[in-house]
């Protein structure tokens, strides 16, 4: 006889053991496809599925078609009927649903749409019947009615409360996303309804090429919302923190109007890249992501009744820490429950301290120092020594050109040898910490007057700090400050060109197009007047063209790029690429094609 006796187990325990066989596994699946002949057999409005008469098709997604239907018996009511497309084992889907059915009856929350029934059509497709909710996906609703950040956060709190209710009953949604949270107005109240609770588990399949894409290479599901552990098929246990992650993504979208990972890039890559992105790449800070959107950011801000700068400022000031904490790669670092997340939002609205720490908080600094202790200490020491050496040299040998060169070499080393490798190869946030630390300490040096008579030295340092902020840690506001100092301090007009260009770019990335245009036009105009022509000057033309393009001044951008090619080099690859990008944005595909043909075929040669 077996040495494992199960006779004494209760039904729930037996069900759990049985469900081990039903869990999707990581390496292949026993799922059977419904035959291809079943494709395109979706019933038309007017037809019946069991006791449901289909009224109209409400929508179609990658996995299902949703109908408005009328139930005739045992009760008459309007319902939504979700018919799962071919590609799944019907019995298994229904069996999984049956396992959940009992628990689903425990869900009784005004913000959760009820699931009434599940069954199989005559052609063998599984279907689910649920409460019909006449509403818009939450992000669409918020944008359409231009809800403010505060209104959005209050709505999000309601969503968290509903999710928390389900979690307390032991039910994980597994597919929280905007289209699964419908919002409607009811008696002057905005009410969210979460749909599909219990369905995701039934239709969840392992994340493989087959399950991610249809035969027509259409992407199934919404990879942008799934947690790293859902994407990583080696992880067997999915818990409530997966829903917390998805809520974090949702909050990110509600705040910024865009997904944390560029959907187009994510979807155009293969399954491994999708998994790698979700599992390994940290999402960009909402404020940074917003500022990089260009003209789109203005519209996003308008949808929130805000100016772009105000929105970015709001985000930077604490708010953005919340979605970032919810989306941590390690689940133990996320909020522990939906109610904790909801409390955090309430704290933010009340102005109370948050659980999520700011990147520069004592907690964060301590953590970074613990993690990278030797790195931080050594960089700090070298930084201090370099600057001290430079100051001493300048003080004693200012007039010697050789010493000036040495000072330049020292600061260059500080930038290229230390800071750049840190932000390129290590942790960007470590670099941010170090930069902030350096600026804070240097401020003291600048104020006490050590640099008073040596503006060039200070300018040099400011320039490097600016570049590190701009290109390294992408803190554009901080970069702007440093470049402004640089321009104020540096006496040589030649160097100001670099300053205008860099400051222009810092403005550009913040979406301050007017200011960016002014700085870059100043640089370009100075070069035009000077008559000097060097190939690297094309950089200024390209940057200004980018700024024009972002403001949809396509004609100006085209003229500028053509001028640059004539002036600097007829066929620089960079300029051609810029022209192609311009024509694509301008919706002139023939022109883009024409210029693409002029690009050197480097890959073909290499092959």
């Amino acid at each position: 006889m077996s040495d494992t006796s199960l006779s004494d187990l209760d039904p729930e325990q037996l069900r759990k053991i049985l469900s081990v066989a039903e869990e999707p596994d990581a390496r292949g699946s026993l799922e059977e496809n419904v035959s291809a002949g079943d494709r395109g057999v979706f019933p038309q409005p007017g037809s019946w599925i069991d006791q449901y008469r289909l009224v109209e098709q409400l929508g179609e997604g990658g996995m299902a078609v949703v109908y408005l239907a009328e139930q005739q018996y045992p009760v008459q009511r309007t319902v939504a009927l979700k018919l799962i497309k071919p590609g799944m084992n019907t019995r298994r889907v229904i069996a999984r649903f049956e396992m959940e059915r009992q628990t689903l009856t425990l869900l009784n929350h005004p913000y959760i749409a009820q699931i009434y029934d599940a069954g199989t059509t005559k052609s063998g497709l599984p279907y689910f019947v649920m409460e019909y909710v006449k509403g818009l996906p939450i992000t669409e609703y918020c944008d359409q009615y231009k809800l403010t950040i505060k209104q959005r956060l209050n709505l999000f709190i309601q969503v968290c409360q509903a999710v928390n209710h389900a979690h307390q009953k032991g039910i994980i949604h597994r597919d929280i996303k905007s289209s699964n949270i419908l919002v409607k107005s009811e008696n002057d109240q905005v009410v969210p309804k979460i749909i599909d609770f219990g369905i995701a588990k039934a239709i969840t399949q392992p994340l493989t090429e087959r399950t991610m894409f249809t035969e027509d290479s259409q992407l199934l599901g919404t990879p942008e919302y799934i947690s790293p552990e859902q994407a990583d098929t080696s992880v067997e246990d999915i818990d409530i923190t997966s829903d917390i992650y998805s809520l974090g993504v949702l909050l990110y979208v509600l705040l910024t109007g865009v997904l944390p990972f560029n959907a187009e890039t994510l979807r155009s890559s293969g399954i491994d890249q999708i998994r790698k992105t979700i599992c390994e790449i940290d999402p960009v800070k909402p404020s940074t992501r917003l500022m990089k959107l260009g003209i789109e950011a203005t519209k996003i801000a308008q949808n929130r009744n805000l100016e772009i700068e105000t929105l970015a400022k709001n985000l930077r000031k604490e708010l953005e820490w919340i979605p970032l904490k919810a989306m941590r790669k390690k689940r133990e670092e996320r909020y522990r429950s939906a109610s904790e997340l909801s409390d955090e939002i309430e704290n933010y609205l009340k102005g109370a301290p948050l659980i999520a720490g700011p990147p520069a908080s004592i907690y964060r600094a301590k953590k970074i120092i613990c993690q990278h202790k030797s790195l931080v200490v050594s960089v700090a020491v070298i930084l201090v020594l370099s600057i001290s050496a430079m100051i001493v040299s300048l003080l004693f040998n200012l007039r010697q050109a050789r010493t000036l060169r040495e000072a330049r070499i020292t600061t260059d080393y500080f930038y290229h040898g230390l800071l750049r490798p840190i932000y390129e190869q290590q942790d960007r946030e470590v670099a941010q910490e170090i930069l902030d630390y350096a600026v804070k300490n240097l401020k003291r040096e600048f104020r006490t007057g050590k640099f008073k008579d040596y503006p060039r030295a200070e300018a040099q340092i400011r320039e490097h700090l600016g570049h590190a902020y701009l290109w390294g840690v992408k803190d554009y506001k901080a970069a702007e400050i440093q470049f402004k100092h640089f321009l104020r301090l540096h006496p040589e007009p030649g160097h100001k060109l670099n300053g205008w260009n860099a400051l222009g770019m810092a403005y550009f990335y913040q979406g301050k197009y007017k200011e960016a245009t002014a700085e870059l036009e100043r640089a370009v105009e100075r070069l035009r007047r000077s008559g000097k022509v060097e190939n690297w000057h094309s950089l200024m033309w390209n940057n200004l063209a980018n700024v024009y393009k972002a403001q949809e001044q396509f004609k100006d951008a085209e003229q500028l790029l053509n001028e640059s090619m004539k002036r600097h080099h007829p066929h620089t690859v960079e300029s051609i690429k810029k022209l192609i990008e311009l024509y694509e944005a301008w919706e002139k595909p023939e022109k883009a094609k024409e210029w693409r043909a002029k690009l050197p075929r480097k890959k073909a040669v290499e092959k």
């Binding site: 199960l6 004494d8 325990q13 080696s234 067997e236």
Partner: protein, 250 residues
Amino acid sequence: MGGDQKRFLTTQWSLIEAINDDEKDGGHALVGSLLKRYWKPVYCYLRRLGFDNEKAKDITQAFFHDVVLGRNLIQRADKSLGRFRTFLLVALKRYVAAVRDKEFAQKRISQYKLVPLEKVDESGFSALRTELTPEDSYQYVWVSSLLEQVIELVKNDCYKDVKACHWHLFHERVLEPIIEKTDLPVMDELCSKYQIKDRQTASNMIVTVKRRFRKALRDSLRDLVSSDEEVDSELLEIMKFLPRIAQDHI
């Protein structure tokens, strides 16, 4: 269909035929296979029917001797109808009707010892502590026996393929927390205990056993029905059955 039918016939029903053919040599090895699967449901059905522990044990022994080893089961069996366990239950009900004749019971029962029931402790059957009907109790214990058998198959399979470590990992991480109602053990600790290099490897090992578990479950059910589709039906029925009886379970 011919192949399916053949396979079907080589399993449950033909096992009974083989038992009868082999009766002259005792037939105990073959009957052991059936007993293993069905004595617990039979015993629990009898207990829920109201027989006391000792009487239920005796009738279980006698039922298997008379009905399974005797020719009357085969004579009455109609292979085209229903599942074997349903058929067995019908046979059991008829047998019980006969056993109700006290004299018959006294005379026949105590001499058979096909099933080692001496140490059976009724407290080991949760189905006996509930308000389940005898039929539901029979079905419920059949499900638990089926899963016991599947688990044993997977375990033996792992040992045979020198995957004992896979088995232990699966048992501790997946089964034990369900059976003992304990928290999931920490994967890193399991890795260290079984000297597995990392969590990824351990996860893969568990997935390997899960797949074997799934296959063993389906194979075991496949032995009881005539087509792959019916395996799904069986599973679906079990899935519906367990939540239903959970309501009656204390």
